[in-house]
Symmetry: C2
Subunit: 136 residues, 2 copies
DNA sequence: CATAATTGTAATATTTATTGTTACATATAA
DNA sequence: TTATATGTAACAATAAATATTACAATTATG
């Protein structure tokens, strides 16, 4: 991944876990991450869709966790924001007349799914609560 | 990773392993991957620098493995082409006045190195020879 | 009820990363 | 001497990521 989406999502969720049961505004969250509030709202939209977060509109509104922070694992976060494979993109149009070219993408796919499984397994034993407790 | 560098490097090395002890030209390799030959030469430069490949200039020149294909693991390849972390980039400039902001990048770094280790461990038990034998 | 504060989202701009291309100096087998 | 390669720089084109502006819809509170 050559983007900051996991970092942003984890930062957001850590803040929400840190202040569990409070409603935090996207502006306030953006001030901690130091990015544009719209970026935060967009990412929160994705996290809401994944069932990790809920929102409240209007004055005194904001965002809050929709699950206990022990019930959220870093794997949940990874899976909701992941856009590319660990080993990157496949080759676009390898030569089908070449013994290697014709099968390479399928083999890469298999490899990627093995690696992905091991990443997920590793992240599954880490809860958001545990991660958030590192901050003081 | 949101690029094709691992796919390209693995494709190149698979061809070199498939035709071990022959000299393959960047043009020929590029024809199998279906990319510009200069891209291939650039990536081969990186692979040479890592000691995986050697070259011969001039007519009848080309590229060849510089190690037996059983002595090259997919981890070697991954480590030579890897440009970003599995979980992506850190936040650029988180707020140092926030308890979360001031430490998040260090925690992310730790997390990334744990995950990276598990990816490498997984790839270390896969040899290029074994991978290349899948093609016919 | 009126106001202020907030989410949700579209449209667009800007910046950064990736990939492709052209050109040519240098090397070497035949 | 010629044809065919590598090595690499400079630049062009495309794609991805991030930032910004704007505003409709919502809601607590005085």
């Amino acid at each position: 991944m050559n983007n900051t989406r996991f970092a942003t999502a984890l930062h957001i969720l850590t803040l929400l876990a840190y202040k569990e049961h409070e409603w935090l505004s996207s502006d306030w969250i953006a001030g901690s991450i130091n990015v544009n509030p719209v970026i935060v709202r967009k990412e929160l939209g994705v996290l809401m869709h994944a069932g990790l977060v809920k929102s409240r509109k209007g004055k005194e509104g904001g965002y809050s966790l929709d699950k206990n922070s022990v019930a959220i694992t870093l794997a949940d976060i990874y899976l909701t924001v992941k856009t590319t494979d660990v080993l990157g993109k496949k080759n676009l149009l390898p030569n089908p007349k070449c013994p290697v070219g014709k099968d390479i993408n399928k083999k890469l796919e298999g490899l990627n799914s093995v690696i992905d499984q091991s990443v997920i397994k590793e992240l599954q034993c880490k809860t958001l609560k545990n991660f958030a407790e590192n901050f003081h």
